[in-house]
Every structure is written in structure tokens, then in C-alpha cells.
Amino acid sequence: MIRVTLPYHLRNLAKVDAEVQLEVPSPVTIGAVLDSLEARYPVLRGTIRDQATLRRRPFIRFFACKEDLSNEPASAQVAEAIAAGTEPFMIVGAMAGG
């Protein structure tokens, strides 16, 4: 099981708690995690990445294992700790605004 945490507004939108657990087929890539998340919660499609280009939205960040994965390609495999479910894959709303 992959653990994914969502920011407050997306939790409300998907009507879930802070963390969701997903079955993600191997190899577990960033793109595969997002595919599984959106398949389970279709309302999230377009809110994390553009529906057409699949590019990450500008004010979304991906953190895991104290690393910023935001600019990693979708094909990048996540760390073993994430694939094993011991560490969460964190989807975060970037600091922006004032």
C-alpha cells in the first residue's frame, strides 16, 4: 500500500482524511501514484496536474523522505520506503500568496 497525504482543500474535495492508501502497480513511479490517486478519486483530476499535459500545477509540491520530488519526471520511481508504505508520498500546496 502506498500512503499519500493530501493538502487540506483536496482532502475536503475528495472527502477523505489527511492520508489515503492506494494500491499502485509496480514499478511505483510518481506518475503511477498520481494515476492511482486520480482513478480512486476522480474529483482530484486536474487539481494536482493539468488534465491534458499531465504537468504538475505550479503551486503543487511533491515531498517524500525529506526530499523535494516536485521536479522529478513522472517516470521516476519512488524510494523503497514509499513503495513499502513506511513513508508517505506527500502532496503539498506550495507556500504562495500573502
Binding site: P7, Y8, H9, L10, L13, E38, A39, P42, V43, R45, G46, T47, I48, Q51, A52, R57, F59, I60, G93, A94, A96, G97
Partner: protein
């Protein structure tokens, strides 16, 4: 007994205000979608309990929400549990997908160069006057989308952007289709308005569009004051009994046309300033119109801190200030273009919301005003439903 439901979109959520027909005691529900920008909510004239809402965020993009119980509960069309899986096993949930048709092309950017069309948000939703599942949406960057399945999927009426779209240039507030008016006598005729592009009309249900800006003069905003496109139209309004008569609050100037936009003339008359954003028409008097004069394009607040609605009973030119119940000192709010509306009771109720978070009602056509609420987030839009 009639009742009233006011749908308020704000920078930080949506609110639903309800009252009986007296319009003196109000219940306030919300915030719905707390923390999100709610640009616009509007109910279907066919089924008032069906309400569409545009929910957006700089972080998370665009969501369309629909309520089927008068605003009590909401869900994005197409993602109810029974809708989750389509026949191919793939999830639905396209209700927030607004894709420009074909090659999106480019428009004029602030520096004069060409810039790609990029979807940002939905400013305005306009349900069909006759069909429960048909609804239009006005987008930034400027485009109009149509759904025929209750908001589950959207298709652009793309010929609009071919009307010299390469010359459209965003203003300070962006470049959006902010007004959509469906002709109640001819559903194939739709008027739309775009800030910094102008007003446009289709007579064939959106297959083709033409600019309707003849007579507009923008001597301070355009190198050619009489240009075919490029005028900063802030709002247009019609009375359902006379859809060929259209009133306009332009950046500067209040205008009217009596021939569906083929020729406009100025009716600013004795207004203290003819800059402003909203304009609307009395429900029962097609020549009675309302504007909120704002000092200037440089100072977006009422003159001398006095919030005044101005009314003309002659279709323009002769105007009177309506001040009873409105703050007449130290008031420096703005009233945005989608934040004024009228109910259809008799006497007609007039409503508007401010960037200071007040929503005002006049239950007597503008003679007297009361604040329904004082301290909401900045109000982006106000729509009213008259329920019988």
C-alpha cells in the same frame, strides 16, 4: 408565499441567503467551499434547485460544482459514487476539464507580443433558460464553453475566439468571458462580453459570432477609439421582454443599444462618474436601470466615500442617486461586475455585494437599502432566485 434565495460568491467561499418575500429577515448559510474563490453561482430557471457553481483556486485549479437541492449539498457533476466508473472502466470526472478546441492559438499580451491562450478559471455560469442539462460557462482566458449533460463535460464554442482573437488583450483583471445573456425570445441568440475585447453576439447558437461594438468609444484605452474589438466592456444587461435592448457599463461610459448591439449610444447623462462595473434592469420596468458609479479606473471606490446606486427610469441619460440606507461617509469599497442582480417580486428587489463583504438589498426598487450581511469575504458575485 414567495421566497428569495440569494447566491453569493466570495473570495473565500459561497454563501446562501434566504428570506421570505418581505425580504427583511434573512438566514445565512455557509461558507460552502470554504477557502476557495467562488466566482459565480447561478440556478437553473428550469429547475431552481439545480444550481451551478464555479469553484477555483490558484493552487488547485478549476472545479465545477452542482447542487440539486437548492444549495444545501453539492458535488462535482459526474463524480457521484454511481458515476465513478465509465463503461470502459475509466473514471469520469471531466466536469473540471475545459480544453480549448484545436490549436488554442494566441492573443495579444500586455507587452504587445502574442501569447498562448491558457485556461485559468470560469468566471460565469449561465444555465439554459429552457433545458435542465444545458449550461454555458465563461472562461478566462476568454472563451465560452457549453455543457449539455448537466456540467459533466464541456465543449468550447470556439468560433468566438476567431473573431479577431489575436487582437484581444487582457486588462488588469484578466481577459475573461464575464457575461453571458441568452435571448429569452430566441435561444439561438446569445450575447457575451469580454473585458478588454468587447461585446459579441451569436445568432446561430454559438456556431458563429460577431463583434457588436459599433458606437463604443475608448479614447483613453485604445489607439483607435472606434476599434471593432478591444473595448473594455464591464457588464451588459437586458430585460427579458425586450432582448434587443441591451444596456452596458463600459470601463468608462454607460451605453445602450436598441438593435441588439448593431449600434450603441451613450446614456451616461448626469452620472457623477460613468466608470463602474455592474449594470442591471428592473424586473418589471424595462427602462429602469441601475449602476454603481465608481470614481475612476485609478481609484476603484465611490466618490467621496459615499456608496450610491444610481437609477434611471428613462433607459439612461436622466439619473438619480439612491442613498437611503447606504453608507454616506468613509466607504471605500467596490462593487464588481457580477455582484448586482434583481428579483422578480413586486416591488422588485435589487441586490448588490461589495468588496468589503456587505450584501445589500433594496426591497422597493432601490428607494431603501439594508445590509443583509456586513462582514463576508470580498464579494465576487450575487445572484438571486425568486421561488414561488
Amino acid at each position: 408565499m414567495s421566497s428569495i434565495r440569494v447566491l453569493v460568491g466570495t473570495r473565500k467561499g459561497a454563501f446562501v441567503l434566504t428570506s421570505d418575500g418581505k425580504r427583511d429577515k434573512w438566514d445565512v448559510a455557509g461558507p460552502h467551499f470554504a477557502g476557495w474563490e467562488m466566482y459565480h453561482l447561478k440556478g437553473s430557471p428550469v429547475d431552481p434547485n439545480c444550481i451551478y457553481a464555479s469553484q477555483s483556486s490558484g493552487w488547485f485549479g478549476q472545479i465545477i460544482q452542482r447542487s440539486d437541492d437548492g444549495g444545501k449539498t453539492w458535488s462535482p457533476p459526474g463524480v457521484k459514487p454511481e458515476d465513478l466508473m465509465g463503461p470502459d472502466g475509466m473514471p469520469k470526472g471531466q466536469s473540471n476539464m475545459f480544453a480549448y478546441e484545436g490549436d488554442a492559438g494566441t492573443h495579444k499580451w500586455y507587452d504587445g507580443t502574442q501569447h498562448p491562450w491558457e485556461f485559468k478559471r470560469i468566471w460565469h455560469v449561465e444555465p439554459s433558460l429552457t433545458d435542465h442539462d444545458t449550461v454555458y460557462a465563461g472562461a478566462e482566458d476568454a472563451a465560452i464553453f457549453k455543457s449539455t449533460d448537466g456540467g459533466k463535460s464541456w465543449k468550447e464554442l470556439s468560433s468566438l475566439r476567431r473573431v479577431k482573437g489575436q487582437l484581444w488583450q487582457p486588462g488588469a483583471g484578466g481577459m475573461a468571458v464575464h457575461t453571458i445573456l441568452i435571448d429569452p425570445k430566441n435561444p439561438n441568440r446569445i450575447y457575451i462580453a469580454i473585458s478588454a475585447a468587447g461585446a459579441f453576439r451569436t445568432d446561430d447558437g454559438g456556431q458563429t459570432w460577431k463583434p457588436i461594438n459599433r458606437g463604443l468609444k475608448s479614447q483613453y484605452e485604445l489607439p483607435d477609439p472606434d476599434a471593432e474589438v478591444g473595448h473594455c466592456v464591464h457588464r451588459i444587461a437586458i430585460h427579458p421582454s425586450r432582448p434587443d435592448v441591451v444596456f452596458m457599463q463600459k470601463h468608462w461610459d454607460v451605453m445602450r443599444t436598441d438593435n441588439a448591439g448593431d449600434q450603441w449610444s451613450e446614456v451616461s447623462g448626469n452620472l457623477p462618474t460613468d466608470f463602474g462595473f455592474p449594470i442591471d434592469v428592473h424586473a418589471h420596468e424595462p427602462e429602469t436601470i441601475y449602476v454603481v458609479p465608481i470614481k475612476s479606473d485609478s481609484e476603484h471606490f465611490p466618490i467621496d466615500g459615499k456608496l450610491q446606486v444610481w437609477r434611471s427610469r428613462s433607459g439612461g441619460n436622466e439619473w438619480e442617486a439612491l442613498t437611503n440606507g447606504l453608507p454616506q461617509k468613509n466607504c471605500y469599497v467596490n462593487v464588481l461586475r457580477d455582484a448586482m442582480c434583481v428579483d422578480s417580486l413586486d416591488p422588485c428587489g435589487i441586490y448588490f455585494g461589495t468588496t468589503g463583504g456587505q450584501v445589500y438589498v433594496s426591497p422597493d426598487g432601490g428607494n431603501n437599502w439594508n445590509a443583509i450581511v456586513h462582514d463576508l469575504p470580498p464579494v465576487l458575485s450575487v445572484e438571486v432566485q425568486t421561488l414561488r
